[in-house]
Symmetry: C2
Amino acid sequence: MGSEMTKKYVFSFEEGDWRDKKLLGGKGASLAQMVQLGLPVPPGFTITTEACRDFYSYEEETIEKLVKELERGPPPDIRDKLIGEVWKIVDRLPVPEGLFEQVKVYVKKLEEKSGKIFGDPNKPLLVSVRSGAAVSMPGMMDTVLNLGLNDEVVKGLARLTNNEWFAYDAYRRFLQMFGRIVLGIKEELFDEVFKEIKSKYGVKYDVEVPVEGLKEAVERFKHVIQREWGSFPQDPWVQLELAVKAVFRSWMNPRAIFYRMANKISKKEADCTAVNVVAMVFGNMGWDSGTGVLFTRDVANGENRPYGEFLPNAQGEDVVAGIRTPMPLDKLKEMMPQIYDELIKASKVLERLNKDVQDIEFTIEKGKLYFLQNRDAKMTPLARVKTAVDLVMDGILTKEEALLKVKPEHIVSLLYPRIDPKYKGKPIAKGLGASPGAVSGQVVFHPDVAVEWARNGKKVILVRVETKPDDVHGFYAAVGVLTSRGGMTSHAAVVARAIGKSAVVGAEAISINYDNKEFRVGDLVVREGEWITIDGTSGDVYVGKIPTVEPELISEVNVLLGWADEVRKLGVRANADVPEDAVLARKFGAEGIGLLRIERMFRKPERLNLLRKVILAENVEERVKYLEPLAEMIKKDFKEILEIMDGLPVIIRLIDPPLHEFLPAPEEILKELYESKIKGVDDAALKEFEWLYNRISKLKEHNPMMGHRGVRVGVTYPEFYYYLTKSMVEATAELIKEGKNPILEIMIPQVALASEIKYVKEKAILPAIKDVESRYGISLLNKLKIGTMIETVRACLTADEIAKEVDFFSYGTNDLTQATFSFSRDDIEGKFLPQYIESGVLMYNPFETLDDKGVAKLIEIGTKLGKSSNQQLEVGICGEHGGDPKSIEILHRIGLDYVSASPYRVVVARLAAAHAAIKYKSIS
Amino acid sequence: MGSEMTKKYVFSFEEGDWRDKKLLGGKGASLAQMVQLGLPVPPGFTITTEACRDFYSYEEETIEKLVKELERGPPPDIRDKLIGEVWKIVDRLPVPEGLFEQVKVYVKKLEEKSGKIFGDPNKPLLVSVRSGAAVSMPGMMDTVLNLGLNDEVVKGLARLTNNEWFAYDAYRRFLQMFGRIVLGIKEELFDEVFKEIKSKYGVKYDVEVPVEGLKEAVERFKHVIQREWGSFPQDPWVQLELAVKAVFRSWMNPRAIFYRMANKISKKEADCTAVNVVAMVFGNMGWDSGTGVLFTRDVANGENRPYGEFLPNAQGEDVVAGIRTPMPLDKLKEMMPQIYDELIKASKVLERLNKDVQDIEFTIEKGKLYFLQNRDAKMTPLARVKTAVDLVMDGILTKEEALLKVKPEHIVSLLYPRIDPKYKGKPIAKGLGASPGAVSGQVVFHPDVAVEWARNGKKVILVRVETKPDDVHGFYAAVGVLTSRGGMTSHAAVVARAIGKSAVVGAEAISINYDNKEFRVGDLVVREGEWITIDGTSGDVYVGKIPTVEPELISEVNVLLGWADEVRKLGVRANADVPEDAVLARKFGAEGIGLLRIERMFRKPERLNLLRKVILAENVEERVKYLEPLAEMIKKDFKEILEIMDGLPVIIRLIDPPLHEFLPAPEEILKELYESKIKGVDDAALKEFEWLYNRISKLKEHNPMMGHRGVRVGVTYPEFYYYLTKSMVEATAELIKEGKNPILEIMIPQVALASEIKYVKEKAILPAIKDVESRYGISLLNKLKIGTMIETVRACLTADEIAKEVDFFSYGTNDLTQATFSFSRDDIEGKFLPQYIESGVLMYNPFETLDDKGVAKLIEIGTKLGKSSNQQLEVGICGEHGGDPKSIEILHRIGLDYVSASPYRVVVARLAAAHAAIKYKSIS
């Protein structure tokens, strides 16, 4: 080694800074930490992530381009081609200058520490070569064990261990692993050979193969390698170089790429993998040896008790092979109480130091304990919440740290139905949990069938290889969707999330045969009409109608949310249209109702009939005739909701949607008209139909979302807004008379001009309030607020003028997103939006997550202008983005006063708002 | 008078600064100017506009509120009530402190100058009291003549003039005028009395009434005044005070308010009126006396020769009374050659000094010429253009001054059909020219009849008292609209302008009887079906089918536009879709085509059929099958247009509108389907219908303007954009091969994301160009531009990203206005927009004139961002606002490179752009 220019690529566990995960990777850092804490760890060293980055730097651009293509999730044939290209390039890459000189130095140190020599049959040093990135990506990258074995060393090992079977078993495993991982030879080629050997010796399990069989396997494996790649490298140094390169390369294998994509791991968080070279220790050296895993707490439910598994006289792989069932950790306590104590004591130290539940791998070699790895444990959302709170109680975490441990999505998943935890059955397949919630339904394979069956009241799950825009009607009909192909951004995943259906995608174990109307998982056949259950959170697929349970929030959730409430700056309200919603809103801790849509109150038939008459009326008198009783009816609902929310603000929105939405479609009427003609009904009835058809056709609009709706209805029919206002203000007055404390906030929708607000205030809202004031003999105007929904672009751009007319703004980000993109949500979500996302033209659905570059800019402009001309102005948001964590962070940054979300998302919003506050506190 | 605090409210004609029109009013300034030039003017003085303003200042706020109400054009009963309130307030107002002390001083000076005494029967001084604001408002405010007469003075006047008839005629006229204007007594009361007297003496004309009759009239008029107001003020000083107040008050009469509104005269331009008190001179003192008007040039056609009328032995009023026909000015030359010479000489001086054609009033009293007023002449648009150019040729105006003399609307009006100037008939009525163009049609009174008749191929003019939203279908069916009520912002005016129909509104002489299906003007009756002609430019209404002529541009127009081209910064292109448009575009001086919409090329049946097949195709192969021949067909058109525009850029827009616009409506198909069922057609045909109905229904969108259109079609069906691009690029290649110089610019519409452009460039546009390049063996990419239409809000907000992908931006302000307001143009223009404008919620139609606060802000943001990331970026606009002068000024200010307008509006745009450049040059 040596020129001044050469970087330091290698650190022994003693010298690495264990806080520097980005350089050493998670595994390397954990090993350094344990060594430096004085815990027993097999000697070893770490090749840094920087070495890996430098390795890739020669072809960075080309590779990035290929990765981008891969990220789009192309069909399998193209995917394989792309992977082939990546590997071809990587194979040609030289290792960074000076790296192997440094590795040699550190192998020498390893030899000194262990007293063994690399490649020396008399005291052979065997090593494992393990990947380890800054962010844990379990199972995604490659590891090679027992490296250093060759034809000579195996003999020495047999001698030294006095166990020829052990030595040759290790050698044949090494050849297979090295062949597959390092040399890229198909695993089947080794499996076939070993199957032949087993049948030759008439045995069923691997462990029953006699030494002769293992030796034969070694020879034949070497032949396979010879044929597929070239002569097996006997030189351990060559083995090591190839293995290190293979680990580097595994950073770019498709599994790893997709994992990073699905988990949104950015380059900033983890860029390339480190490589750990560790002296092998063996848990299969007798009954004083063994291997196991320890979690410091229960990762399923969060209980504070050590939890794990142990297998005596075994290596990690044996657990995987599934011939022996691991024992619960208590067994170790019985068998080796001292080692158990040592393990538990160390685990508590690591938990406190690393401030999280730990997942520790260990091996015992001839009565000596070795720690092989520790990392923060992956947990169920339930355990995640409980342990976060407990760790605060134990003085390990601060409240803010605990809040950051729990992602808003964890809370979300606690809100969906899930598989009954008492259910012990196994899933038949596993895919990606693309859209959460556990649902059961009968299998159908065609969207049209889904529609037909659903119409007959059946619950169905649509099962497809993959889906395309033409299948979307099936999504609406089904309770859930299952595909055998595709990732988190596939059409099925995107659409299912968009319309709120459970979905499991890319369950590759499932093989579908449309012609036979069945799918298979191995030998299992599931036919059309059979029940299955999918869990869109975990990605699990079960046969049958598996019991699911409604979410029940553990008390720790409320403790945590209480902390969130202390930290967050954003208020959180709920969108609620009916009394039941209001009850939920209070239950979930909403600080008011941010949006009450009157529209949903018109669903009852007698109300809808009156409303239709109002809409079809041809003059003011007629409209008023129907408005009066209608206002009286909905007053009861207003009163009930205001009472439930007593003491908290309730924003009621004056009628917003295009009026024709409450009318039957003209085509339906036309059909009825013709059917009646064919049937032959009397002339009067026909005339009535014709009148209705003409009237409705006249009201029909080309682009109703931009037509006669919202405040425009208030300007053209002030009587409409007058009666609605009167109704809600009367409800308020009556409650005040009853000694209650209702807080009404009246919201005017679809405003584009300050003058629209002036006009409807003057012509409808203020007269209605005055009327109620005089009839009830109380002053009300000073007790309520009048505000506007900001959902047109122009309202944002002229917010200073508008703010002078109102007490509050509430952004309607659904309509604002529509207007900013000129995307009609109704028309594009099932049509070109999925294709936009699949092709990468759009990175996410802007109706789910606030568009930071466009819509958020407008909100920022509007808020700044609004507050500039009205310092008292209260600014919130009531679009669906109010429940989306990423959007909430943006809204916190902009400085809104509150968000409003559907009742179930209120808890998400509380936590996300706290996260945003903590994040921006640390920035500023 | 006297305290130091008192303002100087009065200026004699000798001392006033004639350049200060704002202080002295137009008339006062002109009198001062003439006096100071040494021209003979009757002695007099001016009470300043400041005095009038101070007069109103006591009740400024209340009055302004009432005026706002009046400006909204309320129904007559409310209007009268409001006017009553204004007058009540004004009546109570005191005149500003010190004003009348100053007036007295100046009357004394007048007495000294004239040698006559105010109120002295022996040498009576009579005066006229005339209004005069900074901006000429002819006939809108009040004037009182012969003030100073009373029972004694009249006798002296009779003695002095030796003409008792003259004296008593003057007195009875004064009583009537004073009674009506100053005291607010209804004119009919005087008229009735005088009618009785005429019948008593058995005479027909006023001049035939003998002196006794006049004396009787004087007595009875005084009685009328006594009864209606109180004793007639014999004191001339009281008369003067009342008259000055009356002139002040007339600033607020409804005529004046509406005039200012219609002509958009702001407070900045003219705030209150001045009052001129001038010694009376009499043109009716014998055959050496007379009165007349002189225009320095012909105000009808602009010819450079003096033009005017003269009436010997007469006062101005006699001309109005219509008993004697005035003579052409040449007669004066014959009769009084010296006076004629003096007049002409002075007029030329005034023209040169005031830099415009002059309109001069004069009176000759006993062989002595007096100038009573001069002002800039009102002219026809034709004369306006011709004289502006001639005045430059004469060295009177600079080119820039000449440009500013001509308003873009003048040029517009030269472009519409107009009444044949050779036609000598008189209009039967006159209203406001609300939407330009002269058209003939048969009278109908109901919109439904209009639709029915139009369907039968008739040309109809819809005649209504006023219109409302329910009548709009009639507007579309008619060639023009005539109403008897309403102003320039009435529903009829707004809608007619919006959809480009000629309209005359508020023709109050017309009395409509819907029941009898007729209208009357006096005794004339016009029945349904009779032909009338309306001139929407002048507001004239004629009976019969009057010959109209297509516009022919005089050579001066081109001279003027040539000067405009020298001055303007904005380029001007034309929107042209077919070869004929392109020819017009070149003729009108367009510097290229700013927008070619492919859509109009699909109107021919065989092309439309192919396009429909493309749209209904269910897969790529099918689409390509029909796209190939379609692209071949439109290539011919592209080639023709590119050849016409040889050497100038031609922007061709890739297909933009929602695809279903090219398909029949589903309801139509449904109707046909049912009708066929009822008729009984064969099953195959029925199936075909059903397939078509289902397919079209599937393509139908809820909000097509925000649906699957524009670049979204390019992303989902790249083959569509590929073939369109190929077609236009091939046309270019072929022309290049022929030695021509075609300049093609390809425009991508409806972009919201930079990635959309990247995608269609990569998948469609660039491959198509490469294909043509290789087949034709020439390089093309460097010869053409690729740009985008900026018509979504998001494109404006992210213009920096988008600009990196393109060579040019072209704002589509129609769609951008839609998106900014969330107003669907299709749905609102005939529906709530008129009501918005009538109620004052909107001040103008944002689809006609760019919304300065919203849409213009976005254009500004977009342009700034775009040019920041791409300095070469060319930025234009192709929405309809490109032809609107106010919008053009805004676009100049923002710094666009060019505007594009329909071919006829190109000339308007050239002039408006020059105006903007001059205006902003003088500001900066």
